[in-house]
C-alpha cells in the first residue's frame, strides 16, 4: 500500500466518521443528562430525508440543513415528551421513533417525488461541496490547468498530498463535526451548564434539591441532541451522498451508541472511537487494499460487518468497565 492509498483511505475514514461523530456527541449529551437515546438513528434519518427534500425543492442546501435540523429537533422533542414529561420507558420510545422514521421517510418521499421512496439526486448548490483550503490542490486548480485532478495530486509531494486530500476538500459539516469535539468538552467540563448537565445524569435529586430544574436541563439536552443529529443526517444526504435513499443511516445510530460506550461518555475519546469505526467502514469499501494487506481475499460481507462485529464486542464489555451515568434511563420522580 503506497502513501497515496493510505491518504485516500484516511480521507474516506474521516468522511464516514463524521455522521458517527455528530450522532455520538448527540448521544453523549443525552446520556450525560440521564436520557438513554436509542433513537439517534431516527433523528438522523428524518433529518436526512427532510434536508434532501428541502434542498432539492428550494435548491439551497442551507435551507435543507435547516429543515433537517428542525425535523430532528421535533423527534428529539417527542422523545423528551415521552421520557421526561410522561416518564415513559426511554428504550421503547427510542425504538418506536426508529420505526416511525424508517416508515415515514419512505412514505412521504414516495408521495412527494414518486421515485420509489427516494429523493431526486441533488446537484450544485443543493449539496454541500468540498471546501478548498488555501494552497490546497483542488478541483479549481484542475480546471485552471485543464488536467484531471488525480494527475495533479499524483505529482504532488507527500505533505501537499496530505494537506490537499486529508485536511482540505471536505464539506463544511466535516469541520463542524471536528470542532464539535472540543466545543462539547468545553461545554461539559468548563461551564455551569455542563456541570449541571453532568450532575443531572448522575443524581437528579441533587440537582433538584439545589433548586435547579431537572426537566429544564434534560429538555435542553434534547435540543442539543436534535441539533447534532440534524447535522449528522443532513451530512449523510447532502454531503456524503447526493440525496435521500431508504434507510440510508444503515445502523449508524447504533454504531454511534457503541462508540459512545467505547469512549466511556467522553468527547475526545468519542472522536477516537468514531474515527476507528470510520476506518473500518472505509476499509470495507477498499477490498483491494485489504487483500493486499492480508494477502488473502476477505469476503466483502465480512468487511462490511466488521463495524457491527466490533460493536458487539464492545457492548459485550471487552473494553474494560464502562460505567454509564448513574441515573441513565430512569425518569426522575421527586421523592418525599
Amino acid at each position: 500500500m503506497d502513501f497515496a492509498t493510505l491518504i485516500q483511505i484516511l480521507d474516506s475514514s474521516l468522511r464516514l466518521a463524521t455522521p458517527l461523530l455528530l450522532a455520538c456527541l448527540a448521544g453523549l449529551f443525552s446520556e450525560r443528562s440521564g436520557i438513554f437515546d436509542i433513537g439517534l438513528e431516527a433523528k438522523m434519518l428524518i433529518s436526512a430525508f427532510f434536508s434532501a427534500a428541502f434542498a432539492y425543492t428550494t435548491g439551497s442546501v442551507w435551507l435543507g440543513l435547516l429543515a433537517g435540523i428542525l425535523a430532528s429537533m421535533v423527534f428529539a422533542g417527542i422523545h423528551g415528551l415521552a421520557s421526561i414529561t410522561f416518564r415513559g420507558n426511554q428504550l421503547i420510545s427510542g425504538v418506536a421513533l426508529n420505526f416511525l422514521a424508517s416508515g415515514m421517510t419512505v412514505l412521504i418521499a414516495q408521495d412527494w417525488f414518486q421515485q420509489g421512496g427516494r429523493t431526486p439526486s441533488l446537484i450544485g448548490r443543493a449539496r454541500f461541496e468540498g471546501i478548498e483550503l488555501p494552497f490546497a490542490i483542488g478541483p479549481s486548480d484542475a480546471e485552471a490547468a485543464g488536467r484531471p485532478l488525480s494527475e495533479l495530486l499524483a505529482e504532488a509531494g507527500p505533505l501537499q498530498l496530505f494537506y490537499s486530500e486529508l485536511v482540505s476538500g471536505h464539506s463544511v459539516l466535516v469541520y463542524v463535526a471536528l470542532l464539535a469535539v472540543p466545543a462539547s468538552w468545553w461545554v461539559l467540563f468548563r461551564t455551569r451548564f455542563g456541570l449541571r448537565l453532568r450532575a443531572v445524569g448522575e443524581n437528579p435529586a441533587a440537582v433538584d434539591t439545589a433548586g435547579i430544574s431537572v426537566i429544564g436541563l434534560r429538555y435542553s439536552a434534547m435540543v442539543i441532541v436534535g441539533l447534532l443529529c440534524g447535522l449528522a443526517g443532513a451530512y449523510l444526504a447532502t454531503g456524503l451522498q447526493a440525496g435521500f435513499v431508504k434507510d440510508m443511516t444503515a445502523g449508524r445510530g447504533y454504531i454511534a451508541l457503541a462508540a459512545l460506550i467505547f469512549a466511556k461518555w467522553r468527547p475526545w475519546h468519542a472522536l477516537g472511537a468514531c474515527l476507528l469505526f470510520g476506518l473500518l467502514q472505509a476499509l470495507a469499501l477498499r477490498t483491494d487494499v485489504v487483500e493486499a494487506l492480508f494477502r488473502f481475499k476477505l469476503p466483502v460481507q465480512f468487511l462490511d460487518s466488521l463495524p457491527y462485529i466490533l460493536t458487539v464486542v464492545i457492548l459485550a464489555g471487552f473494553v474494560g468497565k464502562a460505567i454509564p451515568p448513574r441515573a441513565g434511563g430512569e425518569p426522575y420522580v421527586k421523592e418525599r
Binding site: F189, R190, T191, R192, F193, G194, L195, R196, R198, A199, E202, N203, A205, A206, V207, D208, T209, A210, G211, I212, R326, K334, R336
Partner: protein, 523 residues
C-alpha cells in the same frame, strides 16, 4: 408555644427563626399533617421526634418547598414567606441535609458544593472563589474535607459534612437534618453533634429530625413530638425523659430496655474457626474469624459498618464463598462448593434474616404470601406433587402475620406496601417460624419504629429462650448491648475481643470498634 420559644433561651424579643401556623397537608385520603403549629427560636437546636409515617418528613418537605401545604402559613424570622420550591427555601436561608444524601458521587466535594450556586456561566472563577470560601467555612466549624476528593472516595461521615457545607455555602441560617445519624458510627455522631453545637453557638437554628431518643436527649434544647400527623407536644429537653417522649410518640407505655432473663447456654450450635473471605475485588474481608454460639444464647457482633460483619453473615448464610471451618451441631459445612447456598444452609437448620431486607430479604413487588415461602418453596409441605399449594401457603401466611402482628394482616398485599417495621416482621416470621437451630440476623431494627422494635426484640429473645442459637449483627450499639448475652467486636475483618454486656461500657466497645486493642488489657 410563645412561652416555650422564650423558655428556649432567647431573652431578646426577636421573632422566632421559624414559625409554622396551622400547617395541613393531605395526600389523597391520608392526612399527613394536621393543623401543625411550631415555633423554633433562633440559635436553638430543636428536635422533632416521631415514628415512621408520623409526618415529620412531610412537614420538613413543606418547609423546604418540596410540597405545598394545603393550609397554613410559614413565617421566617417573623416575616410571612411563601416557599413554592427549593430555590425559594434556599433564598429564605433554609438548608436541608437529607437522610439519603443528595450528592453526585463522581463529582468532587467542591463541585458538589457549588452545584446550583455557581456565580457565572463559566466555572473557572466560581471554582477558585468557592475553594477559598469553602476552606474558610470548613475551618470555622471544624469540618475538614478535602475539596478535591470525589464523593465516592470519602466516608459517609465526610459526605454528611459536605451536605452541611453545601447549606452553609448558600448562607443557610436554618439547617434541617433528617435522621442524620442513621449511617454514622458513635464517634462520627459525636463529631456531628459537636459541629451542630458550634453552629448553634454561631446563631444558626437547627432542626433535628430523628427517631432516636438518645440523640434528642443529648443534643437538643427543645423537642416536639409528632404522632399520626399531629404535633402532640413541644417541651424543653431538660424537662423531659426518654420514657415520657417514647410514650408521647407511640401513644402507650413503651419498654425501652429489653426485658430478658439471664441466658442458660447449652451445647455449641455454631462453631467458626479461622474463617476467611476474599471478595470479588480480591480484598480480604474476613481475616481469620473464630467464635462459637451456643444453644440458648445471643451472640452480638458489634462494629462499624463495613468491617466484615456483612461478609460474615453472607458466608454463614451461603451467599458468599469462604475458607476455614464452620460447624453446625458438630458437623462441618461446605463453604465453597456448588451446593454451598442458601438452600443447603436452610436444610441444616440455619435461618437467615439478611441485613438489607428490601434487597435480600424480600421481593418488593411480590405479595406477602409469596414472600413468606421464599427459601422454603421446596418444602414438601408447600407442594401438591408438581404444583405449589398456594391456598395452603396463603392460609399459613395469614396465621404467621397474625402471630407476628404484621399490619395490615393482608397476605395479598405487595411487600413494598408495608412499612419498614412490618416488612421486617414478615421476614422474621418466615425465618423464625421454621424453628431453626441457628438464626442469623442482621440489622433487625434498621429503619423500624420504636413500637415494632420492642416487638422484634421480644421475638428474638423468645427464640433464645426456646433454646436456639442466635447470631446478631447490628451497628446499633444500644441494640447490641440490650439484646446480646455475649458481645464480639469486629474491626477490619477480625474479632477484636469478646465482652459480657454487664461488664463493659459503650466507651470500651467504641474503642474496640475503632481497632484500639489495648482496651483488652484494661477491660
Amino acid at each position: 408555644m410563645k412561652d416555650l420559644a422564650e423558655a428556649a433561651g432567647q431573652s431578646s424579643g426577636a421573632p422566632p427563626a421559624i414559625e409554622l401556623r396551622g400547617i395541613s397537608k393531605a395526600f389523597g385520603p391520608v392526612q399527613a399533617n394536621k393543623d401543625i403549629s411550631l415555633s423554633v427560636a433562633r440559635g436553638a437546636i430543636h428536635g422533632i421526634i416521631g415514628e415512621n409515617g408520623a409526618g415529620k418528613s412531610t412537614l420538613m418537605s413543606i418547609l423546604f418547598g418540596f410540597y405545598k401545604a394545603d393550609k397554613g402559613e410559614i413565617l421566617i424570622n417573623g416575616a410571612q414567606t411563601e416557599i413554592p420550591d427549593s430555590q425559594a427555601a434556599i433564598a429564605a436561608g433554609i438548608g436541608m441535609v437529607f437522610q439519603h444524601f443528595k450528592l453526585v458521587e463522581n463529582f468532587t466535594v467542591l463541585e458538589n458544593v457549588v452545584l446550583g450556586a455557581e456565580e457565572g456561566a463559566l466555572l473557572r472563577t466560581t471554582m477558585s472563589k468557592a475553594r477559598a470560601h469553602l476552606t474558610k467555612i470548613a475551618e470555622d466549624y471544624e469540618m475538614n474535607v478535602d475539596p478535591d476528593a470525589k464523593i465516592e472516595e470519602i466516608g459517609v461521615g465526610q459526605q454528611q459534612r459536605v451536605e452541611i457545607l453545601k447549606s452553609l455555602y448558600r448562607n443557610a441560617e436554618i439547617l434541617i437534618l433528617d435522621e442524620p445519624t442513621g449511617v454514622l458510627t458513635p464517634a462520627e455522631a459525636d463529631h456531628l453533634f459537636r459541629i451542630l453545637r458550634g453552629l448553634r453557638d454561631e446563631g444558626k437554628t437547627i432542626i433535628l429530625i430523628t427517631h432516636k431518643l438518645r440523640e434528642i436527649m443529648e443534643v437538643t434544647d427543645t423537642v416536639s413530638v409528632m404522632r399520626r400527623g399531629e404535633m402532640t407536644a413541644t417541651v424543653r429537653t431538660a424537662e423531659t425523659s426518654p420514657e415520657a417522649l417514647a410514650e408521647l410518640m407511640v401513644g402507650r407505655k413503651v419498654l425501652l430496655r429489653v426485658d430478658k432473663k439471664p441466658a442458660t447456654p447449652g451445647a455449641t450450635v455454631l462453631k467458626v474457626d479461622n474463617l476467611r473471605v476474599v471478595d470479588d475485588d480480591k480484598v480480604e474481608r474476613l481475616k481469620g474469624v473464630s467464635f462459637e454460639v451456643r444453644a440458648g444464647e445471643i451472640l452480638g457482633i458489634a462494629g462499624v459498618a463495613g468491617n466484615g460483619q456483612s461478609e460474615l453473615l453472607e458466608v454463614l448464610g451461603g451467599m458468599m464463598a469462604g475458607t476455614g471451618l464452620v460447624e453446625i451441631n458438630g458437623q462441618s459445612i461446605d463453604l465453597t462448593g456448588k451446593r454451598s447456598n442458601g438452600r443447603s444452609r436452610r436444610k441444616r437448620g440455619i435461618a437467615h434474616v439478611p441485613e438489607d431486607r428490601q434487597r435480600e430479604g424480600l421481593i418488593m413487588d411480590f405479595t406477602a404470601w409469596e414472600n413468606m415461602v421464599f427459601g422454603y418453596q421446596w418444602d414438601p409441605g408447600h407442594n401438591n406433587g408438581w404444583l405449589m399449594d398456594n391456598a395452603g401457603i396463603r392460609a399459613e401466611t395469614a396465621g404467621k402475620m397474625e402471630r407476628f402482628d404484621v399490619r395490615p394482616p393482608d397476605p395479598h398485599l405487595a411487600a413494598k406496601n408495608f412499612s419498614g417495621g412490618n416488612q421486617q416482621k414478615i421476614v422474621l416470621a418466615r425465618e423464625i417460624e421454621r424453628n431453626p437451630d441457628l438464626l442469623l440476623v442482621g440489622q433487625p431494627t434498621r429503619g423500624v419504629d420504636i413500637g415494632a422494635i420492642e416487638f422484634i426484640h421480644q421475638r428474638i429473645v423468645d427464640l433464645r429462650d426456646a433454646g436456639k442459637a442466635i447470631l446478631l449483627v447490628s451497628v446499633e450499639l444500644d441494640e447490641i448491648m440490650g439484646l446480646s448475652d455475649r458481645i464480639a467486636v469486629m474491626f477490619d475483618g477480625r474479632i477484636m475481643g469478646e465482652r459480657l454486656p454487664g461488664e463493659t461500657s459503650e466507651g470500651e466497645l467504641g474503642l474496640l470498634m475503632a481497632g484500639v486493642t489495648n482496651a483488652q488489657e484494661a477491660g
